[in-house]
Amino acid sequence: MKKKTKSMVRLLAALASMAILGAVTSTLHAQSAAAPAPAAAPTPYPANTNAFASASLTNQVAFLEAAHSNSDPTPTGIAYESDPGHNAWMMVASAFVLMMTLPGLALFYGGLVRSKNVLSMLAMCFGITCLVSLLWWAFGYSLVFGTNFTPTGSTSTLGFILGGTENFFFKGVTSAPNSSYAFWVSQNVYSIFQLTFAIITPALIFGATAERLKFSAVMAFVFLWMFVVYFPLAHMVWGSTGLMNGVWNASAKIPAIDFAGGTVVHMSSGWTALILCLILGKRVGHGKEPMPPHSLVLTFIGTALLWVGWYGFNAGSAVAADVIAANAFTTTTLATAIGALTWPLVEWIFKGKPTVLGFCSGAVAGLVVITPACGFVNSTGAVIIGVVAGTVPYIFATIVKNIFKYDDALDTFGVHGIGGTCGALLTGLLVDPNVNGNLQAVSAGTPHNAAMDNGLITAITNHSLVLAQSKAVIITILLAVVGTTIIGYVVKMIIGLRPTAEAEQQGLDITDHDETGYILQ
């Protein structure tokens, strides 16, 4: 149809969808405000209401010590408040994780594609950042970290999979801590921290589909994927009422552990990437035309920003500036450095020369594999993980991919999907309770540890944690694969996934954005 008609149709479609979204959300908002809120899942401790000034000196000192050591201040009777040290660290960590997407991942991916598609990678990262932020505020944070789908004193199937509605539109999300997740970090800071995870996870997917997926399809796919895959998975693993939250949910059916997102972030995006690139098919000219990275300089810069930013991702997942964060900080460094050493070493031995792309890939692989393990393993475990990270993803990205000939353009499945799976399983094998007090049985008289109730500590002492990890791995893969298959075909049917062959040849920068990345004299 004519250009003007097409623009009018698009404008009307946008207005219609905004009107529908507005109507739906205001109805839901009215409902959640009007209906008597169902009682939240039992918090283990009574709410504190007393002010600091009216407490006894003993309690005041105990309160400050609890802040210092990231402990529970409930016995002091003083109301929860955020601690400047822990809060500051979490704000910095959030900024670091955002930097991982903008510009870390954007440049990493941008440099790996051909120059005619560089902007498409940047646009994808930016678009996802903004869209997911909106969804997180409106529904996501509550669906992941809420609790009102779980009836007081018991459990429900829905409550295992999704959190609740009590924080839709950030209702109740203030600067006061939410003691289900942190005693000393503002709930809004925690929510933004988790938002940065929700942002980078879908952005990772589109490395696999690079150079042949329309921008509109990316946005539509992400919109649906967040609800079908990410919010449920993140709730199951990290929500206080989640099915697989071994550390914090006393009623968890699967006592699995995932410190910073081996399952939630890397496996979900990596396995989704595999299915999506299979649905999409190969790039035009794949296997015949050369498609080398147009700028490994950009890829290197992106890698370095990812590594530095990942300290926020891993050490920040301690949700405190404490000894667990210190351990995660250390293991992250070692695994990454060893991974970055191993991959080029394997190349040197088997292909003749170490490459810069090998350093970058090995570093990212190391970061991926240590992600679920960083707060649960010691430095020796980290080094072992680094070696695995430099070899197993290498095999998938080079050998396996060439055998089965799927066009996982930027190796999202090879590095994130396989790396995340390795990390989740290795966490079960290498777990060391000495580095994380939450994995230790508590002595009588102190508040009961959830991990003692759901079998996690038993699994650790029996050396059988890898079984729970395997269950979590299987559920994650199933959710990602089934969810992506459905969503992928839905989007394909409604707006289509691929550009035309000519548009693909011309490059997505022009066809999706009317822009060129480089206008050189």
């Binding site: 050369p290 792309l357 090998g358 080079t398």
Partner: protein, 112 residues
């Protein structure tokens, strides 16, 4: 009037330019080109995918001269651009009908 087109290895450009300057030839045009003759390309590997790169970077040098200066210029170019290895390049000599200096409207040999 003749035009000399020379394809040479890029790192030889400064030497060739200096040699032509010594003969009194001050003007020339150069373009960055890609090409190959008998020189083979090289292989690049990115994450296990191998690409053979056949086209190699070269410099194309163009200079228009009066007939009398041609032989000396060709000899100077060949002498300074030679390394003895495959890929040194080629020199072509073509006839030119006319030339005009834009600033002064001079034509013929006065324009080159």
């Amino acid at each position: 009037m003749k035009k000399i087109e020379a394809i040479i290895k890029p790192f030889k450009l400064e030497e060739v330019k200096d040699a032509l300057s010594e003969l009194g030839i001050e003007g020339m045009t150069i373009t960055e080109v890609k090409g190959f003759g008998r020189q083979k390309g090289h292989t690049e590997i990115y994450r296990g995918s191998e690409y053979t790169v056949d086209f190699l970077p070269k410099i194309k040098l163009e200079v228009v001269l009066a007939d009398g200066a041609v032989a000396g210029a060709v000899a100077a170019i060949v002498k300074t651009a030679k390394t003895g290895k495959i890929g040194d390049g080629k020199v072509f000599v073509l006839p030119v009908e006319n030339a005009v200096r834009i600033r002064t409207d001079e034509t013929g040999d006065k324009a080159v």
